[in-house]
């Protein structure tokens, strides 16, 4: 079931209805339909004589003063696409490699966060470290199964774009940005957020 949902997400929900390619910098209209920024800009230029309407539902759009650029970004689509792409990249590599810790034995597990192959002996070490004890591990034999990887990866909390080692913990509605604990104290003090 989950597999089907993920498959249909990657097939049907990450493509722009205008160019029919995976979204490139998607922007969201007030009707909640989304398109690539470039596609929307082109459509806005083409309809200059008339008010801009949503290509999908035709609802009229009042563009912000900054134009298409001022429409909200869709962090959800972008991070979903990044993770589907990550699953694709991981599934392309060799299933069985030498352990990245001891370099001696063949790895039996793969850590999604460290991007490391880990053998049975070193698994304990990896799991004891506070930094890595909550990392998702995948059995090496499943590494070529793209839909399995998509399922695992798309349910993980993403990492912060600025502080790469920190996981995201809230979403700032005002600035439509995901932030980790560090960003929250430094950049977003006092902003409205959702956990």
């Amino acid at each position: 079931m989950a597999e089907n949902v993920i498959q249909s997400l990657s097939k049907d929900f990450v493509h722009c209805d205008i160019c029919r390619e995976p979204y490139n910098e998607p922007k969201m209209l007030p009707c909640l339909h989304s398109f690539c920024i470039q596609c929307l800009e082109q459509w806005a230029r083409n309809t200059h004589a008339r008010p801009l309407s949503c290509p999908t539902c035709r609802r009229t759009v009042d563009l912000p003063s900054t134009g298409v650029n001022g429409l909200p970004n869709i962090f959800f689509l972008v991070s979903l696409m990044e993770r589907l792409e990550e699953a694709k990249q991981i599934s392309k590599q060799d299933k069985y490699c030498n352990c990245n810790i001891c370099r001696n034995k063949i790895g039996t597990m793969f850590c999604v966060d460290c991007k490391m192959h880990i053998c049975q002996d070193c698994k304990g070490t990896h799991n004891q470290l506070t930094r890595s004890n909550d990392h998702p591990m995948i059995p090496s034999e499943n590494l070529s199964d793209e839909s399995y990887l998509q399922e695992v990866i798309s349910t993980q909390t993403p990492y912060c774009k600025v502080h790469k080692e920190e996981k995201v913990y809230c979403y700032y509605t005002q600035c439509s940005q995901l932030a980790c604990q560090k960003c929250a104290t430094v950049v977003h003090q006092g902003h409205q957020s959702l956990q």
């Binding site: 209805d17 205008i18 160019c19 029919r20 083409n46 008339r50 309407s53 290509p55 999908t56």
Partner: protein
């Protein structure tokens, strides 16, 4: 030849070939990938049933920001299609949206054959006839289909 062809047009063409719409065929011209030879089968229970209508479809330079240009090549007796084969259909004009595609346009034209709209005519004489004496108009449309659309 097709090096300058946008990926969206290539994708649409491929899908038209691999998953054709029932009763509709659209084949790109060998010389010009933006020009399509289209055939639409007259819909069941319409005066055009049994007919095979030839159309031409052209994707302008700014497609999909601008609508495709579509015209009936086969003569047809229909209140929204004129002598030159031009079609009165809102999505081909001011209701065009870049989320529409070749297949949705052709489906709309197929639907227009099933539901002529004499209140928004392009061929005035045909629309007049359609409103004044519908059964005679339908008979004429059947006759034209028999004579021209095969």
């Amino acid at each position: 030849m097709s090096s300058g062809l946008p990926r969206r047009i290539i994708k649409e063409t491929q899908r038209l070939m691999t998953e054709p719409v029932s009763g509709i065929s659209a084949v790109p011209d060998e010389q010009n990938a933006r020009y399509f030879h289209v055939h639409i089968a007259g819909p069941k229970d319409s005066p055009f049933e049994g007919g095979n209508f030839k159309l031409e479809l052209f994707l302008p330079e700014d497609y999909p920001m601008a609508a495709p240009k579509v015209r009936f090549v086969t003569k047809i007796y229909h209140p929204n299609i004129d002598k030159l084969g031009r079609i009165c259909l809102d999505i081909l004009k001011d209701k065009w949206s870049p989320a529409l595609q070749i297949r949705t346009v052709l489906l709309s034209i197929q639907a227009l054959l099933s539901a002529p709209n004499p209140d928004d005519p392009l061929a005035n004489d045909v629309a007049e006839q359609w409103k004044m004496n519908e059964s005679k108009a339908i008979e004429t449309a059947r006759e034209w289909t028999r004579v021209h659309a095969h």
